[in-house]
Symmetry: C2
Subunit: 251 residues, 2 copies
């Protein structure tokens, strides 16, 4: 697959009362984000919203034109609180109907006798949806325009990302380098700012850490240009050395 030589952006919409209520720790954002990194796509925004039709419709329509790819997680199961498919239908003004292929997949998976009302619901999708196949538990995700709807169960979501590889086309890969320093942020803020100002096309982040009794700062340099990472890393190491700051490995 040819990669576009440009910046490609994405946003995630996490659909789930259970995340907002504090019952469940979301782990899908980090999974999708790392998968996008490998494809050369930058995750630019995440929204976590409730299982409410108007919230989903409004959020999808508000952001789908702002980013190249939208991913939703959650709400495509068989229960009453799974309303992603009907809400996406509404957002795109498409009818919400049985999808022939999805129906066939699910019927085969469950067997005719056990293919009850709840299971049939998972075959109802926006008209003309493209399926995202589910190697774990049959019920497919789907794509409408640039909106990719995935399940909320982390292991199932992970198993489905592979099937998207030829549909989601990335741009320039984003590289990164991390320097772990035994110091505090306020000791290096000023020289670090100078390096950032000099290298506009890198994104330099500074993150305090507490590791086995050690206090430190991770400096993360990200860029599509390896050469720029190398150059800015070199300048950071210069002031690090000058101030006798220790560098360590972390894992």
């Amino acid at each position: 697959m040819k990669k576009a030589n440009k910046k490609v952006s994405a946003a995630i919409i996490v659909i789930g009362n259970e995340i907002l209520s504090g019952r469940t720790q979301d782990v899908n954002v980090i999974t999708i984000s790392n998968w996008l990194n490998d494809l050369g796509i930058k995750l630019e925004e995440v929204r976590i919203i409730p299982d409410k039709e108007d919230s989903i419709v409004k959020t999808v329509n508000e952001i789908r034109r702002k980013f190249n790819y939208i991913f939703t997680t959650g709400g495509i199961g068989p229960t009453h609180d799974d309303i992603t498919s009907q809400s996406i239908s509404k957002a795109f003004n498409l009818s919400y109907i049985y999808h022939k292929e999805a129906f066939t997949i699910l019927k085969k998976y469950y067997g005719e006798k056990k293919f009850n009302k709840g299971r049939k619901k998972m075959a109802k999708l926006p008209k003309n949806a493209l399926l995202i196949y589910n190697p774990s538990s049959a019920a497919p995700g789907f794509v409408i325009d640039n909106v990719h709807c995935l399940p909320g169960v982390p292991s199932i979501l992970k198993s489905m990302l592979g099937g998207l590889k030829n549909r989601v086309i990335g741009g320039r890969k984003i590289f990164s380098e991390t320097l772990n320093l035994i110091t505090v942020e306020s000791e290096i803020a000023f020289p670090l700012q100078k390096v950032q100002n000099k290298f506009n096309d890198t994104e330099i982040g500074s993150y305090p850490f507490f590791n086995k009794g050690k206090i430190g700062v991770s400096i993360v340099i990200r860029s599509t240009e390896k050469e720029l990472i190398k150059k800015s890393s070199k300048e950071i190491l210069r002031f690090v050395k000058k101030r006798s700051i220790k560098i360590i490995k972390r894992n």
Copy 2:
């Protein structure tokens, strides 16, 4: 503190490239959400946005009137990528200046000699900001109108929430009950929907789980009315019993 007998809403803005890039797993949302639950405040939306001034200004101004309380996490440290204070100043059209009390606190904490440029930056806040004291590492958070700005480091954030208790006034407490069933969602989707339809003022969620080789579904009933939880739980247990579905404890 008297509690208002009404629904009180909140939203969180997570400010941090490190969350979007997949480098760091956010854990602050679940911390704040559970703290809000105890106060009787419902978390209605979360946005994760980059360390970019225009994103912060736009997001804050877009949502601060929609919810009773806004909490931001991240971006109040000393480095160049910490731009929450200046961005909030801009969002509210306030000058971004040294805050007398914050300056005094930080100067005392670091000592005059070590109170360098980076550390002084943490005393620069929107004009007339109210401080949120920091028992861990001195650098305060702050409040402007209904926007409460907290740090991104989870342990420090946790230590600061206590100090907000008399400022953030909750509504009716949201209670919840969980039933863990050894079944699959599609087996119970239809009768569960009927219970949800009957009890509009409860929020019934259905969440598959995989636990020590067991596949099951957690049914979570949430409401401000304990009595309604009891009634809807009773109806769920009725169809659970009828279908000989096993109930288990989870931890």
